[in-house]
């Protein structure tokens, strides 16, 4: 067996073990239902923030409308489940795909713009999607919202376990896709667009094509997040997907570090949890978010992962370079010092 396959196999086993362990802990209620719910919401937030990170962090194109893509995914999935009795798994995928189509249609005109202009246009499109949802009352229930989306299962014991497991699987899939993309040749092209668009052009990279590609994939991932959200939450209302929601995802990306997958995961779970434990502050907790942002920009502008030299954690790299001897030697630094 060659080394890469071995690394991949061990990584897969670790992921599987993590899956069995965490879902097991949820199933036996070691992690109580409330915490499991926070973890699930956190996971959904992370998925959508990862999508945003692809376009804003890795490609360097500031987008402010990802709540819109989340909404497209959520309503599509809900409609498919409720009206056409599509099973949940393909319904979620369809949510992602429809959102990707929206991403493509919006991206074609919008990605001709740069920087602030692009941010404003994506913000506008996000709002347009929300307003359409308000008015398409046949499918979306209009401003009153869409009630009674069937959950993953009606069994009260399995419900938190299944939701959590589903989010875990999708989150791992999204991370693997992003990680492989970033380390591939198209991924390099995407990063070089962030670094310097003119130079990327001069190197023969089809800048517009790769921007569209990243934006569409980003919308797909956000749509997936929305698709999971619909049956998990059971109720949708267009006003859940307003501008503030888009900004929340952007805050996760910025806090974690632009273009850093590990950072987005940490910041996504961290902020979701923080929002819950600060509930006693009532509406004042909304002050905490911007406060964290201000402090972060002052002391650690590269984001959370800036602490670790800006390189994200990589499971495969960890497995490949894992060497018990090395760790043992590190515990006896005295000898090296005596030399």
């Amino acid at each position: 067996m060659n080394k890469d396959r071995k690394t991949n196999l061990i990584s897969f086993l670790i992921i599987l073990f993590g899956f069995i362990l965490t879902t097991g802990l949820v199933a036996f209620r070691v992690i109580d239902e409330y915490t499991a719910q926070i973890l699930t919401i956190g996971g959904i937030n992370v998925i959508i923030a990862l999508g945003l990170n692809l376009i804003s962090g890795f490609t360097g194109q500031l987008a402010l409308g990802h709540a819109g893509f989340m909404a497209v995914g959520a309503y599509t999935t809900a409609a498919l489940i409720m009206k056409l009795n599509v099973p949940i798994f393909p319904a979620i995928l369809a949510g992602g795909l429809v959102s990707a189509v929206f991403g493509l249609l919006i991206g074609l005109p919008a990605l001709r713009l740069h920087g602030d202009y692009l941010a404003i246009v994506t913000l506008g499109f996000g709002e347009i999607i929300r307003v359409i949802m308000v008015n398409l009352s046949d499918i979306t229930g209009g401003p009153a919202g869409l009630k009674g989306i069937p959950p993953f299962t009606t069994n009260f014991f399995w419900r938190p376990v299944l939701s959590f497991a589903l989010v875990y699987i999708f989150l791992v899939l999204v991370i693997i896709i992003l990680n492989n993309l970033i380390n591939s040749s198209p991924g390099r092209a995407i990063i070089s667009i962030r670094e310097d668009e003119i130079a990327a052009n001069a190197m023969g990279i089809n800048v517009f094509y790769f921007k569209i590609f990243a934006f569409t994939l980003s919308a797909f991932i956000a749509g997936l997040g929305g698709g999971i959200y619909a049956p998990f939450f059971g109720y949708l209302n267009p006003n859940m997907f307003n501008f503030q929601k888009s900004v929340e995802f952007l805050i996760i990306v910025v806090l974690g570090g632009m273009g850093n997958i590990t950072g987005t995961v940490l910041a996504g779970f961290g902020l979701t949890y923080l929002q819950e434990i600060l509930r006693f502050l009532k509406d004042y907790r909304l002050v905490i978010y911007p406060l964290i942002l201000v402090l972060m920009m002052l002391f650690q502008p590269a984001g959370l992962m800036g602490f670790f030299g800006n390189k994200g954690f990589s499971l495969t790299r960890f497995v490949r370079e894992f060497n018990p001897k090395k760790i043992f030697r590190m515990k006896n630094p005295g000898k090296a010092g005596e030399k």
């Binding site: 390099r188 990063i191 130079a199 001069a202 190197m203 023969g204 089809n206 800048v207």
Partner: protein, 234 residues
């Protein structure tokens, strides 16, 4: 090799290039010299299709470039080293060079080309794993040229390679440009440092406020009274 005919470029209402015509033959070093704002960079950008042109024709190896996308032009072998180096500062030197070879599929030849780059720029080999943004100005310029060479240019457009560099480094860069030319790459050089540019070039065009005012062999221009007065400081 490259033929530019009656090129007109506008920035909004401003007529930036007036009927520019020139050509570059295979194997030459041709230089465009002129003061700030003369239209040198604009000319290069319009050749590479980074800005739209109003009228005129650009022909490279028999292809008309107006109908192509910038990345198609790179595939034809016309590579620009943009002004101000524009390396990818958050990527390593190695990754920068890899980006240079982005359009190429011939892996074996790419490997050989790395060796060629390292013999020509030994400094880059020492800094292979370093972030490109941490290199000195001179090293960054070398990286920018090396990155362009990785895409196997037939014609290399160099935009102000001397910008912001110490005189000694500028000399080094220019001798590298001559070496590259001798190895078979045609060079179109845009420079403000007219003295230096004329000393390495075969032919030269002098640009003034968007028009070509003089042209001729580099030697003749270097000794011409008008050019000396206007650009070489007496």
């Amino acid at each position: 090799m490259l033929k530019v005919k009656n090129l007109n470029v506008y920035y909004g209402n401003i007529h930036a290039l007036h009927n520019i015509s020139f050509e570059v033959n295979e194997g030459e070093i041709v230089t465009l010299i002129g003061a700030n704002g003369a239209g040198k960079t604009t000319t290069l950008h319009s050749i590479s299709r980074l800005i739209p042109i109003e009228s005129g024709e650009v022909e490279f190896l028999g292809h008309t470039l107006q109908t192509l996308w910038p990345h198609n032009i790179v595939e034809l072998g016309l590579i620009q080293v943009p002004e101000g180096r524009r390396i990818f500062s958050n990527l390593t030197v190695k990754e920068n060079l890899e980006m240079g070879a982005f359009i190429r599929k011939d892996r074996e030849q790419i490997k050989k080309d790395y060796e060629m780059i390292f013999t020509r720029f030994p400094r880059l080999k020492e800094r292979l794993r370093q972030m490109a943004g941490t290199l000195s100005g001179g090293e960054q310029q070398m990286l920018a040229i090396a990155r362009a060479l990785m895409s196997k240019p037939k014609l290399l457009l160099l935009d102000e390679p001397s910008m912001g560099l110490a005189p000694l480094l500028v000399k080094e860069i220019f001798s590298i440009i001559q070496e590259i030319n001798k190895a078979g790459t045609t060079v179109l050089l845009v420079e403000q440092n007219a003295h230096l540019a004329l000393s390495v070039a075969d032919r030269a065009y002098v640009l003034e406020t968007g028009r070509i005012v003089t042209q001729g062999s580099a030697k003749a221009l270097a000794s011409s009274e008008d050019v000396r007065k206007a650009y070489l400081g007496g």
